[in-house]
Amino acid sequence: MHELSLCQELLEQVEQLARQHAAVGVSRIVVRIGMLAGVEPELLQSAFAILRPGTSAEHAELVLETIPARIRCRSCGRESECRVNHLLCPICKSTDAVLIAGEEMWLAQIELLQRRADSMLLGDLAGISSPEANRDRTAGSEGASPREGRSS
């Protein structure tokens, strides 16, 4: 039952990112949870409901993407999806397997709301004032960038 402390850390990171990018709010948070991560998605949602009031994520949707367990068989080399307590090769039955997915527990994506004027200003400043912020921005390749916001 450590979902509450995980959620505190999640919200802290979201707050930091929101502050760093002068966001007026957060609309969506995506967290990837592997089925072997030891995190119960429902409890994390409940913790989020308890902790979000008063934070920039107060109105955000928390999306939890569940990642199934996958192994690579070291005998036959093939990759397969497995039940969490049955991590053996379904093809050659070897137990000499390596888990390649299913232990994830990370903040994958957030959507930040920016005022139009702010986003224009930050778009101009990002390159010179904060290389860190700039790198973060370029990571969000599919999202609406501040520059797109300016051109519309």
Binding site: L17, E103, W106, S152
Partner: protein
């Protein structure tokens, strides 16, 4: 080095400035603060060359009994201390203290696991320079302790014959963290018709775990030797690495929670200054 919190000389004291922990802006890992503190703990242990083992099991599988038997067998050759984690009472600590070794009791109240911050406090209280081996007896729980790096070097998971041989299948997350699995209470096997060591082994192997398994009775002392040999191997291996300036980590990597891809940021322009409309 700083003797208070284990931070390196050039950095800010952890206890004085939380921002120092927050400094690296590596977003994504939801156990970031714990993991950073765990690294500090490991550095502190490594400075004094103390091998730390995290002992995890369900309540009542005999963690304290195993420690008693182990300490009796090894205390002439190794300097040992124990950190005891319990929700309430100092009963286990009193049992260990009776053997003449240092015990630091952590009473967690309602918390169901130990974390790196709690261990950090304990490490400040223990005289690490006078230790070779530190056992951390985690709270009896097969769920939560699995997720927390304490800064230790090896994970030991204990399973009692009275618990059933399918425990690894029921608690795969915790059993997958094991560097070694010890089956305790083999003295009760004649009275149990539903526990098979072969089935317990299969149950662990089905988790893609190659951890060694030892069956013993902490109570009678039967078959204790392979476990003691394993411990001495770990101490020797750790010291060899230490001599090369390296450290030992639990072979189950807790880096799954670290960012495999950076947190993706999407920017949604809004015209009004309000949050979601």
């Amino acid at each position: 080095m700083c003797g208070t919190c284990g931070c390196s000389e050039e950095s800010v004291h952890l206890n004085e400035n939380r921002a120092a922990i927050l400094a690296p802006p590596t977003y994504g890992n939801l156990l970031r603060l714990n993991d950073l503190q765990a690294e500090r703990n490991r550095q502190l242990l490594d400075r004094s060359r103390v091998l730390a083992l995290n002992l995890m099991s369900a309540p009542g599988s005999g963690k304290t009994s195993l420690l008693e038997a182990t300490i009796r067998a090894l205390q002439d050759s190794l300097r040992i201390a124990v950190i005891e984690g319990d929700l309430e009472t100092e009963n286990d600590a009193l049992r260990i203290r009776a053997l003449g070794v240092d015990v630091y009791q952590i009473t967690t109240g309602t918390a169901c696991h130990l974390d790196a911050r709690l261990i950090s406090r304990a490490l400040q209280d223990l005289d690490l320079e006078r230790l070779d081996l530190l056992f951390i007896e985690n709270v009896g729980n097969l769920v939560c302790p699995a997720s927390f790096d304490l800064g230790h070097h090896r994970n030991v998971v204990l399973l009692a014959t009275t618990e059933g041989d399918d425990k690894p299948a029921k608690y795969p997350v915790l059993f997958r963290t094991a560097d070694v699995v010890v089956i305790n209470k083999t003295d009760l096997l004649p009275f149990l018709d539903d526990f098979s060591i072969v089935r317990a082994t299969d149950s662990l192997r089905n988790l893609a775990s190659h951890a060694p398994m030892f069956s013993l009775s902490a109570k009678t002392g039967a078959d204790l030797q392979p476990w003691l040999d394993w411990l001495e191997e770990q101490v020797a291996g750790y010291r060899a690495l230490h001599g090369q300036g390296k450290t030992l980590r639990p072979s189950f990597p807790l880096d799954h929670r670290k960012n495999r891809a950076p947190t993706e940021l999407r920017f949604i322009p809004v015209t009004s200054g309000t949050a979601l409309g």
